[in-house]
């Protein structure tokens, strides 16, 4: 059944209309601060006033937060004036950021204070409008106060909202919620967003009034889908796309003239010289590095190479002399540290902040006049979001500089630069039908009250993320939660009860609420291990951090790659792993991708299109000058960059062939092993899916393990026996999902995702009876759990969800099916080439090393093969 949504464009209203609806005090206050209504206010205020759902997409600094509050403040003031404010929550505002005090202060608290001052001056009596903030950090005493004097405007996070939805006393305050504001909605294309969408429906169910929903978003696409996500099934929503784009000034830079022939020491020093020069010629700079490890590296090198530039010799406020004016901000740093950095930024006490991704969101960071993107941000929406951090006010110019690190990065950043300038935005992915999130929410719903099962399903299906949830999946979650899978023993671990006769569902166990509250949330827990050099000149030097689960796969002696260098693992002490440097051996542990952002599919297609255009010019023998001119015009890059791109492409063209929009080059190369390299530039999410499916088909045929390397720009296979033609024949868009479901069944990635899903669905409790379980312990338990579940049913809902998450959220099966279709129908032609050295485009991929090993060989076969080898060894010794 097609679900109908009424999505339409909001219209710009005029100033007079809005003035007319404003309460005299609010009007007076507004015009004492502003001259006119901003564009987003012209779109939003009237519609909120008229109780129409609206999604407002506007760049940072366009006043959208105040837009959402203005009509609400106006409404509440008009009631307060009549002394008719009820003891209830009128408005709920949810933001994914915990640290939003400042934003709320500027856009809500201060305006209210000023309005009250004004009223007092005019001797107008106004009832007090109360505002409360509740996040994970809120003290218990504060929470108690809230219940005594309920807030009219309730500011919260998705997690805290879910918690109050199980509290009887809070629910009593939600009987008439009139407004729901969802801020930073562009950052909710994940399970956190899915979770929130269900909470909103639960709230809708509790409130006797259907609240108006207001979504606030940065530049994002497609707005229609985000609007549906905001309002839920079958409701109407207006979309306001604020046209006033911030002016941007974006360029692509390199530290050196030649990215390929320069030695690494020289590259290194010129890169940091360039960064330093940029920092010094601006007031405050933010550098985005994508990974936590790189963040630390950049700070270390800047301080080492230019010690005087990053240390303030004067006294700080506390009278301390000599303090850093460079700081790090990323998610594995403590909350206190991050808060201090944000505070210093606002006060203008820092020259530069280096961050992985954590400063992307709208935390107020004061005045920043330059954003450096060190390495590709992998998507145009993200690039714009980051660059938008510079010049926070609407009419400031946002200045951003891409600094490229290698030749693939250069091409990618140049195309992203083009997309940013032409406002081509990649698409958000919103996960659907997540069964782990559903389990947690159903448990929460059962704690709230006893439900009729059909009524419960109806509420769930109103969320956009579950609008096409099928009854079987829903029932399997109910069976799971009510303990049916426990097999021989009834209901020992059941979280809920379900009575088939009365169709009722309720919570089970005295501890249900405590278990729920202490295990709520969707963000997986990870812990990190610091990698430290064990001996020699650089003894005790930190080289980076890795995920704890990555370390667990390693045995002493294993070689792994971190930040482009090889290390041999020696031993661990606490949260530190000691390693040997200068290792020549090949890695024995696959490269770790957990931190790496995937290239967006849209940008990948854009690069393929660009490759095709350049290739045509080579084929029609255009002059180098003409082609270079074309490149610099097409990508909006300097001659220096277009020269480098020209050289890179020309080398590939001369040596082999260029893979592009209409043709896929498959390169056969025999090095230490047999390689088959796919020049498949579709981003890692698509490549992951395609390569694993093909690898699996080959491995099934050959019965041996296959090494597989995956990047945004392609993938390769290496192994003894690679029957590719047969695998290509078997791979069809319609069977890709089936093949992949089998192919991932034994992989590390499925085990890892299963752990996350098991925690979200409360199969494994992170906290129980006041004790929290270490990530390592969770890992071990989830491993045992998975092997037990595999023995029961492949359709166990949480295992099914882990597979869905791998295929749809981690990989991009939908687009992979699309590419498979293009290949099948000949829209993309396959051409095979043989090389004696990897071609220039394949070089980075081969150098990067392998990502995973497809274990195709049966366990028993492997054991027998190893046995044969040992027997042979013993016999040889005897000779």
């Amino acid at each position: 059944m097609e679900i109908k949504y009424g999505i339409s464009k909001a219209e710009l209203r005029n100033q007079e209309e809005i003035i007319e609806i404003l309460d005299p005090i609010v009007k007076e206050w507004f015009f004492s601060k502003f001259e006119v209504f901003s564009e987003s206010q012209l779109y939003g205020v009237m519609n909120v006033h008229d109780r129409k759902n609206i999604l407002i997409s506007a760049p940072t600094g366009s006043g959208k937060t105040l837009t959402s509050f203005l009509a609400i403040i106006n409404y509440l003031v008009s009631i307060a004036r009549k002394n008719e404010l009820e003891n209830k929550v009128y408005c709920i505002y949810s933001s994914p950021l915990k640290a939003l005090n400042n934003d709320i202060f500027v856009n809500l608290i201060r305006p209210l204070e000023e309005i009250y001052d004004l009223a007092e001056k005019k001797q107008i009596k106004l009832q007090k409008i109360r505002v409360s903030l509740r996040t994970g950090d809120t003290e218990a005493s504060e929470k108690a106060k809230m219940l005594k004097n309920p807030p009219h405007i309730f500011i919260t996070t998705p997690e805290s909202l879910a918690i109050v939805l199980t509290s009887k006393k809070f629910i009593d305050l939600f009987y008439g919620v009139e407004f729901l504001i969802i801020d930073e909605i562009h950052s909710l294309g994940n399970k956190r967003g899915v979770y929130l969408s269900l909470s909103l429906e639960r709230l809708e169910e509790i409130s006797k009034i259907s609240p108006v929903r207001i979504g606030l978003s940065a530049t994002i696409a497609p707005l229609e889908e985000v609007a549906k996500f905001l309002v839920g099934t079958g409701r109407n929503c207006l979309i306001a796309e604020v046209q006033t784009q911030k002016k941007t000034d974006i360029e692509v830079l390199t530290g050196v003239t030649n990215l390929i022939d320069t030695n690494s020491a020289e590259m290194h020093s010129s890169l940091y010289s360039l960064i330093d020069k940029l920092i010094q010629s601006h007031k405050t700079t933010i550098i985005f590095t994508n990974t936590r490890a790189a963040t630390e590296r950049v700070i270390h090198h800047l301080k080492e190479m230019f010690p005087n530039n990053y240390l303030e010799h004067g006294e700080d406020i506390l009278g301390k002399t000599g303090f850093d004016i460079i700081g790090a901000h990323h998610s594995s740093l403590s909350k206190e540290h991050r808060f201090e950095i944000e505070e210093k930024l606002r006060k203008g006490e820092l020259k530069v902040v280096v961050t992985s991704t954590s400063l992307e969101l709208g935390i107020d960071i004061g005045y920043v006049d330059l954003v450096i993107l060190l390495g590709s941000p992998k998507s145009s929406a993200r690039a714009l979001q980051r660059i938008g951090r510079a010049g926070h006010k609407l009419h400031d110019i946002s200045k951003g500089r891409f600094i490229v690190l290698d030749r693939d990065d250069m091409v990618e950043c140049s195309i992203l630069n083009k997309e940013c300038r032409e406002k081509k935005i990649d698409k958000i992915h919103i996960p659907r039908n997540c069964l782990d999130v559903l389990s947690q929410q159903i448990f929460g719903m059962a704690i709230q009250k006893v439900w009729d099962i059909n009524e419960m399903l109806q509420v769930i299906k109103r969320s956009y993320c579950y609008s096409d949830l099928n009854k079987e999946d829903f029932m399997s979650v109910i069976s799971y939660l009510s303990g049916e899978y426990a097999l021989e023993h009834r209901n020992v671990y059941a979280k809920i009860w379900y009575d088939e006769k009365s169709h009722q569902i309720g919570k089970r166990g005295k501890l249900a609420r405590v278990i729920y509250l202490t295990n709520i949330g969707t963000i997986p827990e990870e812990s990190f291990i610091t990698i430290v050099i064990a001996a020699g000149e650089k003894k005790d030097q930190k080289v980076g951090v890795v995920d704890e689960s990555f370390l667990e796969k390693m045995k002493p002696g294993d070689v792994f790659v971190l930040g482009g260098k090889r290390y041999q693992f020696m031993y661990t002490r606490g949260m530190k792993a000691y390693v040997k440097i200068g290792v020549k051996k090949n890695p024995t542990i696959p490269r770790w991708f957990s931190e790496m952002l995937p290239l967006s599919f849209e940008s990948a297609l854009e690069i393929n299109r660009f490759r095709k255009l350049v290739n045509e010019k080579f084929e029609s023998k255009k002059s180098p000058e003409e082609i270079k001119g074309f490149i610099s015009q097409y990508c909006y890059v300097s001659n220096h960059i277009s020269d480098s791109i020209y050289n890179y492409f020309y080398e590939q063209y001369e040596y082999s062939k260029i893979s592009h929009e209409k043709r896929m080059i498959i390169e056969y190369y025999k090095g230490e092993k047999n390689y088959i390299i796919f020049h498949s530039l579709y981003g890692r999410r698509v490549n992951d899916a395609l390569s694993r499916a093909l690898g699996y088909l080959m491995g099934q045929k050959a019965g041996r393990d296959i090494e597989i390397g995956i990047s945004d720009n392609g993938f390769y296979f290496a192994g003894e026996n690679l029957p590719l033609d047969e695998a290509m024949r078997l791979l069809k868009p319609e069977n890709l999902r089936k093949i992949l479901n089998e192919a991932i069944s034994k992989t590390e990635i499925l085990k890892r995702r299963f752990r996350h899903c098991a925690a979200r669905s409360l199969m494994i409790l992170r906290n129980y009876k006041g004790r929290s379980k270490s990530v390592g312990k969770q890992q071990m338990n989830s491993f045992l759990l998975l092997s037990a579940i595999n023995k029961i049913s492949k359709d166990f809902p949480i295992l099914k969800e882990a597979r869905r998450e791998v295929l749809e959220d981690l990989m991009d099966i939908e687009r992979a099916e699309m590419v498979a279709k293009w290949l099948n129908e000949g829209f993309i032609k396959v051409e095979k080439v043989q090389t004696s050295l990897p071609s220039p485009f394949a070089m980075n991929l081969v150098l990067q090393g392998y990502s995973d090993l497809l274990k195709m060989e049966d366990r028993v076969e492997f054991m027998k093969r190893m046995h044969k080898e040992i027997v042979k060894e013993i016999k040889e010794k005897k000779k």
Partner: protein, 270 residues
């Protein structure tokens, strides 16, 4: 047709040699005594700790046993006695309803399968329960089922012990020692991959022939002997020190073809 592998043990001056065969995760002695250990019934519950853990352990244990009994009966033989080498159940502290009922189900199943042969064995000798370090409060169940709980057991020249304590008298009088407790497993690896297998250890210690059998539990009981980090912790765990185990031979049993694979001495695999 499945064929059992036989290793006939011939000891000099012994007219009635003991025959010991590898069979799944257990040993078959004189074609009629089955030895298994470290079942850790109730472990699932311990892991779950109020989360959700589907219960498969007992089901898997029983299906493995069914295989073994079927296999033996196909050869026209009968199991007359089952020796459990300790750690029948998992929990140290108390005994839960589940552990209780599963342990009973398990013992009932064995009771059904063991051949009734009143002349040869006394009723309560059909199942021999040796106490493991986890079996602190197994007494009531054993009593209920009329099974004696012992610290060790002797059959001809063999002494059966759990492995955490040395029972001197039994040890002195025997030529062969059969132990559990360690849950031996081995990781085989080549350049790329690693796989873990449960295994038997077979070697000499204090002039006795020793067998250490793997855990019979289907979930995750395998102590990786060739991981140096782990074995360090383990030094005083088993009555035999780790460095002495290094000279033991590693045997992996492949139940698909009912065949054992001898990988030579443990130290070669480290």
């Amino acid at each position: 047709m499945k064929i059992l592998n036989k290793i006939a043990r011939k000891h000099k001056n012994n007219e009635n040699p003991t025959k010991i065969e590898f069979l799944h995760d257990s040993l078959l002695i004189d074609e009629s005594i089955l030895v298994l250990g470290d079942l850790h019934i109730g472990y699932e519950e311990h892991i779950a700790e109020a989360g959700i853990f589907p219960r498969v352990q007992l089901r898997e244990i029983l299906s493995k046993l069914k295989d073994i009994f079927w296999n033996i009966s196909m050869q026209g033989k009968k199991i007359k006695q089952v020796i459990i080498l300790g750690d029948l159940k998992h929990e140290f502290g108390g005994i839960s309803d589940i552990e209780w009922s599963e342990t009973i189900k398990f013992l009932d199943y064995l009771d059904e399968q063991i051949a009734k042969d009143k002349d040869e064995k006394k009723e309560n000798d059909r199942i021999i329960l040796i106490k493991g370090n986890h079996d602190t409060i197994l007494g009531p169940i054993a009593k209920k089922k009329g099974v004696a709980l012992r610290d060790f057991y002797r059959h001809k020249e063999i002494c059966f012990m759990h492995g955490n304590k040395l029972h001197g008298n039994c040890f002195e009088k025997s030529k062969i020692l059969i132990l559990g407790h360690l849950h031996p497993a081995i990781t085989l690896k080549d350049n790329y991959k690693k796989e873990k297998y449960k295994c038997f250890l077979h070697g000499k210690w204090k002039k006795k022939e020793v067998y250490i059998i793997p855990s019979f539990s289907p979930i995750g009981f395998g102590y990786e002997l060739n991981s140096i980090e782990q074995s360090r912790h383990n030094n005083e765990f088993l009555i035999i020190k780790y460095n002495l185990l290094e000279n033991f031979e590693v045997v992996i049993y492949n139940s698909n073809e009912n065949k054992e694979y001898n990988f030579g001495k443990l130290k070669k695999l480290i």
